[in-house]
Symmetry: C2
């Protein structure tokens, strides 16, 4: 019997990747491809990048294997019913029919396989649940703290996509008492306070002269006072958002990845302090852990949309 493989596609604000992934969540060697995306890319350029990595991954199919489906994780918001995407940081795509475009690339390759689209946060949460930090846990929020803040939800052992596919947008719930930048419409939203760029922006208002999350992490490691306050503020904001989500959903575990989550382990300690101080025992029970996934996580999650489809609605 041939080995069943999924084509995994991860589309984000800076790059699109595709790879082949087996039913144990492992990438097939030599099957991972990447192309740029970005704020300024035209629709034609984005289609060239997406079509390119999908065709390359399909062409990498090894002997003795067969493709059983293609899963797409895409930055939100999306419309899962119609297969449309409107990634916040890719302004040229508004209600862009990404699922149909990729399905046409697949069909042109002579394949007849299902194509599934979900939000990237949903995909990454499936990956944590499958092979990462949330294995065996039925009530989980996966989070990415990076250029933006995204997430996904598994509740009662099943993925919550929501009717339009947008459940999991933890970056867009409000945090009390801390005010962020007004870049997308709500300075009280977690992402406006605590994403990498918004944390750096706050630090710069206090006098920090660096411009990247990496520089802020380095300043923190060097015991810089502003960097320490910036990390404490961001950790508190993320902790408060997790407390709100846990109050609402009775979560057991939150697994957090993304570039800015690696700034310092103290970021996690600050979040856990917020949770430890909560007045409800059932909120205090939630565990906050770093993602156990490598940079392959989003691709493994996209493949889970095929290999672990039984967890989807």
């Amino acid at each position: 019997m041939p080995t069943p493989l999924a084509v995994a596609v991860d589309f984000g604000g800076t790059k699109v990747e595709a790879a082949l992934v087996d039913h144990d969540g492992r990438l097939v060697e030599g099957s991972r491809f990447r192309q740029p995306t970005g704020r300024t890319a035209t629709i034609a350029e984005l289609e060239t990048s997406v079509g390119g990595v999908v065709r390359d991954a399909i062409a990498a199919l090894p002997d003795g294997a067969e493709l059983v489906g293609l899963g797409i994780g895409c930055a939100g918001p999306i419309d899962r019913i119609r297969g449309l995407v409107s990634p916040l940081n890719v302004p040229h795509w508004r209600d862009y029919p990404l699922r149909d475009f990729i399905a046409s690339v697949v069909a042109d390759s002579g394949l007849d396989i299902p194509v599934t689209l979900e939000m990237d946060g949903v995909a990454i949460t499936l990956a944590e649940h499958w092979v990462g930090a949330a294995q065996g846990v039925d009530n989980v929020m996966g989070m990415v703290v990076s250029t933006g803040i995204g997430g996904g939800l598994i509740v009662g052992g099943r993925v919550i996509t929501g009717p339009t596919g947008n459940a999991g947008h933890i970056g867009h719930i409000e945090v009390g008492d801390i005010v962020g930048e007004n870049t997308f419409g709500n300075p009280s939203a977690l992402e406006a306070i605590a994403s990498g760029p918004h944390t750096v922006a706050w630090a710069r208002h206090q006098g920090f002269t660096g411009t990247t999350g990496e520089e802020l992490a380095a300043a923190y490691a060097a015991d810089d006072e502003i960097a320490r306050r910036a990390i404490a503020r961001t950790g508190e904001a993320v902790g408060r958002a997790i407390a709100s989500a846990t109050a609402l959903l009775d979560l057991e575990l939150v697994a957090i990845g993304g570039g800015f989550s690696h700034a310092t382990p103290d970021l996690f300690d600050r979040m856990r302090e917020v949770i430890a101080d909560h007045y409800f025992p059932y909120v205090r029970k939630v565990r906050i852990v770093p993602s156990a996934l490598s940079s392959e996580g989003p691709l493994i999650g996209a493949a889970a949309l095929i290999h672990r489809a039984h967890l989807l609605p």
Copy 2:
């Protein structure tokens, strides 16, 4: 075949009620009983009240009917696995074994029927979905805006209780930009801002001389300036909390009941304005409607824990 009836029990901070409810969500005439509870009641007094209404309801069983189960909706937090309750406003009960106590009353009556405990917000949401404002809608939050602010969730057509039974605590998610009273540990929590008593407290800080939600509603109707600002502030806070919950869960409908929700229809208009201004189309889609349930709603919801048990995890 005998008519299947459920015993419904609704336990709250001021009273406990029980009634018999048929499989169409209708109360059996003459089967509804009420006893006081309250902050100062001892455990023995609370047990006398609860035992009394349960025995009275069971004794009201009509000819040609049979009892198929007993459902309990109780103010949170609860522990649904162990059947314990710790209602915020009933300080004498902390991890009190309400389910076992009621099961013993049921057994003493010679009955052998299942006894189910869930949070009152979960019960009321089931009632809205069964016979109220949320019929046929798969992604719903039921809310009660009253002495406290509670709620429950149906997502993808199924009830979300959470592993401990506390999912739905919408009163305890944070709201940005508006500060409430510091009575239970978080002045940024929705309940601390926008419950009836906390709204009145804010109005009194501004110079309002009344002491109840009813007086505030009357002042609003008389075009009192402070009352108008108080209602606008509370409507904005509830709207923002609904926006956060919808960002996270992709809700389609929120149905709101509870005494203070009746203060004025303008309260709903203010919530809807907040939603209409949101930057995400999928958040703007959520509809906010008044509960379609009468004061029987919590009892119908408790009965739904038996008659609609297939929607529970």
